[in-house]
Each structure stands twice: as structure tokens, then as C-alpha cells.
Point group: C14
Chain length 87, copies 14
């Protein structure tokens, strides 16, 4: 089992798990925010614009943590410095 | 056990687990959003259009995290750079 | 233990686990949505058409994540590119 | 330990676990839907037909995810392409 | 350790675990449905026939997932195609 | 370690775990049903016969899943086809 | 490590774990039933006889699942067919 | 590592774990029953005798599951048939 | 690694874990009972003697399960029949 | 690795884990009791002496389970009969 | 397996897991904050500016913990002092 | 790997884990007590002295379980009888 | 595998996990504090300055525990005394 | 793998995990205390000084458990008696 194979296997497994775990919890957090936004709108329809705006800012910040993970995974798959070194 | 086999096995297992774990939690989050939307509609039928619109935007964002995982899995199965290298 | 066997075993196990895990949580999410829909209908019978329509759209999106997993499993079983390569 | 045995063992174990895990959560989801339906009927007896109809559609969708798993298991036991290849 | 022994051991363990796990969660789901049915009857005694009928349909569907697991286990113990092949 | 020993050990362990896990959750489900039945009787003493009858039907169905596991365990201990084959 | 030792060790460990796990959850279920019975009596002292009777029937059924496990353990310790075979 | 040692080690470990796990959950169940009894007495001081009596019957049944485990442990330590056989 | 060492190591580890696990849950159960007793006294100061008496009986029964574990541990450390045999 | 080392390592690890696990849950139980006592005092300041007395008795009993673990650990570290034997 | 490979593999796996785990919980925490902010706005629309400002400060602090993890991962991937040493 | 190293490694790991686990749960219990004390003060400002006094006594008892763990760790690190023996 | 590599690998993995785990829970705690602060402001807008001040002090203390972990990780990566010794 | 390396690796891993686990739960406990303090202030603004003072004392005690862990980690990294002995 040479170095290249090991690095490759580690990169594949890590990329997959990082994306899977790293997007799971933001999805839960977004689900919570969205569901609460719907309750808030139903409760105070007049404040819908403020609620929607705050919701979108919040979703953007939560989504950003998922993006961190996805970006790191893509780096590991397509621009892996360790892999490039051994190549 | 040569390199090609190892990379293949790692890709198969990772692709499966990434899709499985990565779509599980968005499904929970969407379930929560949808169920809350139904409560909101039942509570304030007049706000149904606003609620439905917000719900769809939210579902789209949550679904996006599931898409990240599915796309990464497809990349690992059909366009795996490590596999292509060894080929 | 040759490569073909290893790839086969990995495909079988991954296909099974991906379908099992990947359909479990959508089932929970759908159960939550359906049960909430029934509460909503009991609470506001007049809004039943809107509720039912929103429920079906939501169920479709949640079911889609289960479909991702099932499709990936079928690809691994019946159209596995790694298996085909070794064949 | 030849290939045939390994494929067989993997198929048996995977078929069992896939069915077990994959039917467990739909059962929970259905239990939740049914129990909520009973509450809804007790609360609004007049809406019983609508509730029952929505419940059955929901149960069908939830059951479908259990069916996916059961079908995949039967495929692995009775029509396993990997097993057939080695035979 | 010959093939026959391995297949036998795998079948025994899988049959047991599949039945154990696969009947555990339906039991929980049924317990929830039954307990909610009792609450519903206590709350609306006049709707008892409708509640009981809906409960029985629901229990049947939940029990079906337990049956899937039990049937698969019996297949693995008494009509195992892999075992028969090696015999 | 001959085949007979292995099959025996697997049967013993599986029989025990199947009974233990498979009766644990029905016990929880029955506990929930019984406790809810008591609440229902306290709330609506007049509906006691209906509640008790529904409770017993429900307990029977839940107990059935525990019976599945116990039966399978007894089969594994006293009428194990794999053990009989090697004998 | 001869067969007799292995069968013995497996029987000891399985008997212990089966009893431990298999009596743990019935104890929880009974605790729930008893505590709910006390609440029910406090709420409706007049229905105490009905509540107590229903409680005892329920406890008997829950205890039965613990008995299954204890009986199986005693069989494994004192009347183990596999152990007897090797003797 | 001779048979006697192995049987001894297995008996020690199993006896300890069986008692530990098997008495943990009854303790929780009894804690629940006792705490609910106190609430019930505070709520309906006049029903104290009935509540106390029902509590003691319930505690006895829950304690019985802990006794099963303790008895089995003592059997394994002081009257172990497997150990006696090897002696 | 001779028999005496193995028996000794197993006894030490088992004694520790049995005491640790076996006293953890009674502590939780007692905490629950005590906290509920305080609530009950605050709610119905006149019933304090009855509450306190019932509490002490309950604590005694819960503590008894912790005592089982502690006694078994002391037996394993100071009067271990297996250790004595090898001595 | 001689016997003395093994016994020593086992004693160290067991002493640590027993104290850690065995004091964790009593701490939770005491936290619950104390917090409930504060609520009770705030609700019924006149009953403060009774509440405080009952609290201290309860804390003493919960603390006793933590003491069991700590004492056992000290025995294992400073008065270990197995260690003394090998010395 | 030389040092360079080992360091590389460890860096890849650690970088992935650190980002995945380290961004998961902040996402949950942010989801909670955002959803509560929406409830607060719906409840007190006049305090929206204060709520939004406090929310953003809070999100920034929570996000900072995710940033710690992401920065550490990038250091491990692109500026790893251990890797540089071996190079 | 000589005895001294093994004893040292075991002491280090055990000391760390004992402190980590053993202080975690008291921290939770104290957090609960403190938060409840604040609620109680807000609810009954006049009883603040009694509440604060009871809180401090309770915190002291909870902290004591954390101290047990910390002391045991320090003994393992600085006054380890097993280490001293081998020295 | 020489000492330098081992120390390096251990430092990398530990640094990552320490930061990941050690920042996860503070993020949850901060999320809880922030969300409760928003509720408090919505409930009592006049007390906003006091609430905000208390919130910031609290966030600082919670953040401090995350800082401990991050600092320790940086020490392990950039100023590791063990690594320096071997260099 | 010589003693020095082993002691070093154990110290690094233990120091990291002790800090990570040992600061996680205090962070949760502090988050709970802070959030409850905010609720209490919003509910009773007049008692803010008493609440804030009690909060700070409580935070100090909770933080102390985190400090124990951090101090132990620093001892393991910078003043490790086992490491010093081997040096």
C-alpha cells in the first residue's frame, strides 16, 4: 500500500464524511429557523417583511457553516496539497 | 489488494454513507418546516400565500445541503479524480 | 480475496445501509408532517384543501431525499462503474 | 474463504439489517400519524372522512420507504447480480 | 472454517437481530397508537367506533413492517437460498 | 474450533440477545398503553369497559411482536435447522 | 480452547446479559404504569378498584416479557441443549 | 489460558455487569413511582392509604426484576454449574 | 499471563464498574424522589409527615439496588470464590 | 508484562473510572434536588425549615452512593488485596 | 509507510473532522438564536432594532467558534508545521 | 515496553479522563441549581437570603463530588503508590 | 515509525479534536443565552441595557472555555514541548 | 517505540481531551445559568443586583470545574512528573 493510495483513500473518506456531517446540523438549524418563521408570520402577519429579512440573514449565516465544510471537501478532492506533493 | 481496488472500495462506501447521512437530517428539517407550515396555515388561513412562499424558500435552502452531499457522492462515483489518476 | 469480491461485498453492504439509513429519517419527517396535517385539518376544517396541497408538496420534497438514497443504491447494485471496470 | 461465501455472507447480513433498520423508523412515523389521527377524530368527529383519507395517503407514502428497503433486501437474497456473476 | 459453517452462523445471527430490531420499533409505534386511542375514547366516547376502526387499520399497517422482518428471518432460517446452494 | 461449536455459540448468543432486545421495547410500549389507560379511566370512568377492551386488543398486538422474538429464540435453541444439519 | 469451554463461556455471558437487558425495560414500563396509576387514583379516588385491577393485569403482561428473558437464561444455565450435547 | 480460568473470568464479569445493568433501571422506575406517589399524596391527602398500598405493590413488582438479576449473579458466583463441571 | 493475574484483573475491573454503574442510576432515582418530595411539601405542608415517611421507605428500596451492587463488588474484592480456588 | 504491572494498571484505570462515573450521576441528582428545593422555598417560604431538613437528608443519601464509589477507589489504590498478594 | 504519508493522512482526516464537528454545533446554536429572534420580533415588533442588533452580536460570537475550527483546519492543510518539518 | 512506562501512561490517561468526566456532570448540576436559584429569587425576592444560603450549601455538596475526582487525579499524578513501588 | 512522527500525528489529531469538541458546546451554550436574551428583551424592552450587559459578561465567560481549548491546540501545534524535545 | 515517546503521546492526547471534555459541560451549565438570569431580570427588573451577584458567584463555581481540567492539562504538558522522570 503505497503513499499515494493511502492519501487518496483518506481524502475520499474525509471529504465524504465532512460534507455529510457538516451539512446535517445546519439543515436542522435551518429547519428550526424556517419553522419558527412560519409561526411568527402566522402570529403577526404585519411583521412579515421584518421577519423574512431577519430569517434570510440568519439562514445565510447558518448556511455559511455548511459551505465551510463543502469547500474543504472540494479542496480535499480537487486541490489536495498532500496529494499534489506526492504526485 | 492493489491501489485501484482500495480506491474503489473507499469511493463506494463513502458515496453511500455521504448520501445516507447527508440526506437524513435535511429530511428531518424539512419535515419540521412543513409540519409547522401546516399549523401556521390552520392558525392564520389568510396568510397562506406568505407562509407558502417562505416555506418554499426555506425548503430550497435546506434541500441545498442535501444536494451538496448527493453531488459529492456522484462525483465520487462517476468523476473520481483519484480513481481516474490510477486508471 | 480478489478485487472483484471486495468491490462486490462493499457494494452490497453500502447499498443496503444507504437505503436503510437514508429512508429512515424521511419516514420520520413524513410521519411528523402527516400527523401535523391531521391536527391542522381537525383545527381548521375549512382550510383542508390548502393544507392537503401544502402537505403533498412537502411530502414530495422529503420523499426526494429518500429517492436520492434509493437511486444511489440501485446504481451501486445494477450499474456500478467500479464493478464494470473490473469485469 | 472463497468469493462465493463472502458474497453470500455479506448479502445475508445486509439483507437482514436493511430490512430491520429500514422498517423500524417508518413504523415509528406511522405510529405517530395514526395516534395523531385518533386525536384529530376525537377533537373534530365531523372531519373524520377527510382525516382518514389524508391519513391513508400519508401512511402509503411512509410505508413506501419501508417497501424500498424490503424490496432491496429481497433483491439481495433472491436476485443478487453479484452472486449470480460468481455462480 | 468452511463455507457452510460461515453461511450458517451469518444466517442465525442475522435472523435473530433482524427480528429483534425489526419488531422493537413497531411495538413502540403500536404502544403510542393504542395509548392515544384510549385518550381519544376517554375524550369523545361517542366516536369510539370510528376511533377503534382507524386504530385497527393503523395497527395493521404498523404490524406489517414487523411482519416483513419476521418473514425475512424465517426465510433466512428455513429457506435460505445461499445455504441451499452450498448444500 | 469446529463447525458444531461455532453454530452452537452463535445460536446461544443470538437466542439470548433476540429475546432480550425483542421483549424490551414491547414492554415499554405496553407500559405506555397501560399507563394511558389508567389516565383515561380516571378521566372518563363511564367508558371503562370500552377502554379496557381496546387496551387488551392493543396489548395483544404489542405482545405478539415479543412473541415473534421469543419463538424465534426457542427455534434457535431447540429446533435449529443448521445445528441439526451438522449433527 | 475446546468446545465445552466456549459453549460454557457463551452461555454464561448470554444468560447474564439477557436477564440484565431483558428485565431493565419492563422495570421502566412498570414504573411508568405504577406512577400513572397513583396519579389516576389521586385524581379519581372513586375509580380506584377499576384502576387497580387494570394496573395489575397490565403489570402481569409487562412482567411476562421479563419472565421470558429470565426463563431463557435459566434454560441456558441449567438445561442447555448445546452443552448437554457436548457432555 | 485454561478452561477454568476462562469460565471464572466470564463468570466474574457477567455477574458484575448483570447486577449493575439489571438494578439500574428498576432504580429509575422506582424513583419515578415514588416521586409520583408523593405528588399524588400532596394532591389528594385523603387517598394516602390507597396510594401507599398501590405504591408498595408496584415497588415489589419492579424490585422483583432487580432480584432476578441479583439472583442470577449469585448463582453465577456461588453455584455456577459450568464451573462445577470443570472442577 | 497466568490464571491468578487474569482473575485478579477481571475482579478489579468488574468490581469498579459494577459499583460505578450500579450506584449511578439509584442516585438519579433518589434525586428525582427527593426533588418531588420537596415540591409536594411546598404544595401541601400539612401532609409533610406522610410525605416524608413515604419518601424514606421509597429511598430505602431504591438504595437497596445500589447496595446489591456494592455488596457484590465487595464479595468480588474480598471474598472472591474464584480467586480463593486458584490460591 | 508481568502480573504486578497488569494488576497495577487495572487498579489505576478502574479507580479513576469508578470515581468519575460514580460521582457524575449523584452530582446530577443533587443538582436536581437542590434546584427543586429552591423552587419550593420560593413557592412556600413558610415551609423552609421542613424543606431544608428533607433536602439535607436526601442529599446525604444521594451522596452516600458517591461515597461508595470513592471508597472502593481508595481501597483499590491504597489497600488492594490483589496487589498485596503479588507483593 | 513513511513519516510524510502518516502526517499527511492525519492532517487530512483531522482537518475534515475538525471542520465538520466544529461547525455543526454553532449551526444549531445559530438556528436556535435566529428562530428565537423571529419569535421575539413577532411578539414585540417595536423592539425589532434592539433584537436584531443583539442577534447579530450573538451570531458573531457563535460564528467565531466555528471560525476557530475552520482556521485550524486550514492551518493543518496549508501551513502545517509538522508537514513542513518533514519536507 | 517496561512496567514503569505502562504505569505512567495509565496514570496520565486515567488522571485526565477522571478529572474531565468527573467535573463535567457537577458543572451541569451546578448550572441547574444556579439557574433555578435565579428564577426563585425573581419569583420571591423576599426569600433571597434563604435561597442563597440553601444554594451555597447545595453547591458545596455538588462541588464535593468534583473534588473527589480532582483529588484522586492529583494522587495518581503526584503520589501514585504503584509508580512509587516500581521506582 | 519513529518518535518524531508519532508525536506529530498525536499533536495534529489532538489539536483538531480539542478545538472541535471544545468549541462545540460553548456554541450551544451561547446560542441558548442569546436566544433567551432576545426573549427577555421582547418581554421587557425597558430592561434591555441590563439584559445586554449581563448577556455580554456571560458570553465572555462561556467563550473563555472555548478559548482554553483553542489556546491549548495552538500550543500543541506551534509550541509543543514534547515535539521540541525530540527536535 | 521507547518510553519517552509513549509518555509524550499519552500526555498530548490526554491533555487535549481533558480540556475539551472538561470545558464543554461547564459551558453548557454557564449558558443555562446566564439564559435563566436574563429571564429572571426581564421578569423582576428590581431584583437585578441580587440576581447578577448570585449569577457571578455561580458562574465562578462552575468555571472552577473547567479550571481544574485546564490546570491538569497544563501540568501534563509543562510539568509532567512522569516525563521529567524519564528525562
Amino acid at each position: 500500500m503505497d503513499s499515494l493510495t493511502l492519501i487518496g483513500v483518506a481524502s475520499i473518506v474525509t471529504a465524504g464524511l465532512t460534507t455529510a456531517i457538516g451539512t446535517a446540523f445546519p439543515a436542522l438549524g435551518e429547519g428550526r429557523s424556517v419553522s419558527q418563521a412560519l409561526t411568527a408570520i402566522a402570529q403577526q402577519p404585519d411583521a412579515a417583511p421584518t421577519i423574512t429579512r431577519t430569517l434570510f440573514v440568519g439562514l445565510a449565516m447558518i448556511e455559511s457553516t455548511a459551505i465551510y465544510c463543502f469547500v474543504l471537501s472540494l479542496i480535499l478532492v480537487f486541490a489536495n496539497p498532500f496529494w499534489n506533493h506526492f504526485l
